[in-house]
């Protein structure tokens, strides 16, 4: 079977010429375009999977797991129903539950904290760095006798400060679970996000860099026994058709979604490259706009830009201005987790995490997906410059 060519993914620069009479539209997401570019081979593969009748735990799932673990450099991979479930099951596999505390960041998607709550444990937040990732210097003060794990988030596709966090974890005998939902193939000194800690949790939600046609996720582990436990936890605790060794849940990646991901995995490099190219273009084009802060990439980071986030004053005005010009943007995330109504019982309030709170008012995610052309990126940058001029 012939896959779509990489060029179909990394949009050619001339993909969408701006016609002076038709204003350029720059959407934040382009899923329809993605499918149009690859529908023939994708549908052919889906038909194959369907014909097999093995729609749960089919060979596609095992194939995907082995390809992902090989590519990302982990001993084992366990595919599950979603990125959220990857976190919940990881916490459970490590025996983290009621009475335990897990240290994490307050500026992630809600699922990071809700996974901890659903495992029965308590999320303990620490503030973040200017680049939005967990500040290792603040972790130690958050460690209590009940702390069992650190759960750093590789937000926006930028690897968190793993060496510092691993050192802290080793010193305090804590587990490390990485939330790499936004960071597939992000690297730190060449090592993939999600392979530093005990377990690495990924999402393949439709909006992620490697995306399924529905909810999907996976967990990486270098510990075969942990992987075995995850395999039974995702399937009702069953070790065979008859025997439930422990309580589990139903959180299996559908064979069908595994087939979609297998079809797309070979394109991931091109997707990442296109996103990196767009991000670097933004950086170059906005470098001399003092009102725009785009956290720099450190030399050891290989960022995959699930989102490209700038930090600006008058953020809401800028967002409205861009929208009027046909440019879609997003905010990840407008309300920090500790200020959500759901988190009230945790006892935090405004002022608990000043850096994250200030960022929440200033962050704006620009379109960075692989179907943007460089003229699209230029168009966005020009409009941002105009706004601030």
């Amino acid at each position: 079977m012939v896959g779509p060519s990489a060029s179909a993914v990394a949009a050619p620069i001339e993909a969408r010429p701006a016609l002076s009479e038709a204003p350029r539209q720059v959407p934040y997401v382009a899923l329809g375009q993605q499918f149009a570019a690859e529908s023939a081979p994708l549908l052919a593969r889906l038909e194959q999977t369907l014909a097999s009748g093995q729609w749960v735990a089919g060979p596609e799932v095992a194939e995907l797991e082995s390809k992902l673990s090989e590519r990302l450099g982990a001993r084992a991979c366990v595919a599950v129903g979603s990125g959220t479930d990857a976190l919940i099951l990881s916490l459970r596999a490590l025996g983290i539950g009621p009475g335990d505390e897990v240290i994490t960041a307050p500026n992630s998607f809600i699922a990071t904290a809700s996974a901890i709550v659903h495992a029965g444990a308590t999320p303990v937040f620490v503030d973040v760095l200017p680049d939005q990732n967990m500040d290792p210097a603040r972790v130690e003060a958050a460690i209590s006798p009940r702390t069992r794990a650190i759960l750093p988030v590789h937000l926006s596709g930028r690897a968190a400060r793993m060496p510092e966090l691993l050192e802290l974890a080793a010193r305090h005998d804590l587990r490390v679970i990485e939330d790499a939902a936004q960071a597939i193939d992000a690297r730190l000194n060449g090592r993939a996000a999600g392979t530093f800690g005990d377990l690495g949790c990924f999402s393949c939600h439709p909006l992620k860099n490697l995306n399924a046609a529905g909810d999907a996720g996976f967990i990486l582990s270098n510990d075969e026994a942990l992987a075995q436990r995850l395999r039974r936890l995702r399937s009702n605790g069953l070790v065979d058709r008859e025997t439930a060794l422990e309580w589990g849940v139903v959180s299996r990646l559908d064979s069908l979604q595994a087939a979609v991901l297998l079809e797309r995995l070979p394109l991931l490099d091109a997707v990442t490259q296109a996103r990196r190219r767009n991000a670097h273009a933004y950086r170059r084009l906005l470098a001399d706009v003092p009102q725009v802060f785009a956290p720099p990439c450190r030399d050891e980071e290989h960022n995959v830009f699930h989102t490209f986030v700038i930090q600006v004053d008058r953020r809401d005005e800028l967002q409205a201005f861009l929208l009027k010009r046909g440019i879609g943007t997003a905010i990840h995330y407008k309300i920090p987790i500790h200020l959500q109504p759901a988190a009230r019982a945790l006892g935090y309030g405004r002022g608990s995490f000043p850096v994250a709170e200030r960022q929440a008012e200033r962050i704006l995610s620009l379109p960075v997906h692989q179907f943007l052309s460089l003229p699209d990126v230029e168009h966005v940058a020009i409009n941002i410059r105009e706004f601030f001029s």
Partner: protein, 368 residues
Amino acid sequence: MNVRYSYLSQQFGQIDELLEQIRAFVKTGDFTLGAELTRFESSFARLIGAEHAIGVGSGTDALKLPLKALGVGHGDEVITTANTFIATAGAINEVGARPVFVDCGPDFCMDVSQVERAITKATKAIMPVHFTGYMTDMPRLQAIAERHGLPLVEDACQAILADIGGKRAGTYGVAGGFSLHPLKNLNVWGDGGVIVTNDGAFADKLRLLRNHGLKNRDEIACFGYNSRLDTLQAVVGNWLIGSAESITQGRIERAAYYDQQLGAIPQLRLPPRYADRRTVFHLYMVHAQERDALQQHCLSRGIECKVHYPIPLYRQEGLRHLGYRQGDFPVADAQAANVLSFPCDQHLSREEQDFVIETVREFYGAAR
């Protein structure tokens, strides 16, 4: 002749039209909580005769989320049946509560007469399981639940379109959970589930719980889960849902033929058949003498017959901490030792059924 248990390749043998719909769907990019899901949910609600239907990630989650929405949690007890698939008790355990079992009746469902003595101060809900497609005695159970002020959450995973006097499985309790797993009567192409309810506020709560507690893109009302029925699977569901009645009828007709033929074999015993209840035969299960030898014999002839389940749930390794002991549920034990399930799906031919019947006759003839 081989008589296979799974008929999926036959069911989806002619799917050009469906693939066209899938093709059109994937181009929309509408993958999460999309329009096709909403359409499926309203068709499903209509099919069951409920006000609301909420598509979730699996049948297990279709049981877990209603318990969560009821506020069932740590220290609480939920009464259910001693022989069911692990997921029923798993859902109860998932919310932090403790499953309390009652023994089964001759129809494999909860023996409703034993429920009352299992109720304690900690009991927060009752979860009957319409096992194999039989209806639990819901009118009687409802009266008990009302008397004790306990909500009912129905495990209707195996019982789509089963009813008592026309009132369908899933519509008796505050909510009913259904599974769309590939092997269920109404099935999609992977894990999937649906919850039905007649309570609008309860439905809203369930919609929050399945989607991270998100009230809108930015605001979170409560800690929730990620348990959405993929919109892609809803496309499959929409394609199939019009056949739900004929699938059910196909199973009932095949069961009736088995009954007529297998019922005449003295070493087999049929479970009770009810005139006023519609049993939908997700499984066609009989009691068999020398069950294991019969199963081996059938398997050796290419007939995929199965046991649901050889180890009753309450005796599973993973549940040992609940403190039950062998013998606590004698009916479930007896059933685990002698039940056997034969293929009974809508695609099974008369010829295949005759082969099953002949093979069983042959076994007992030789054994005599």
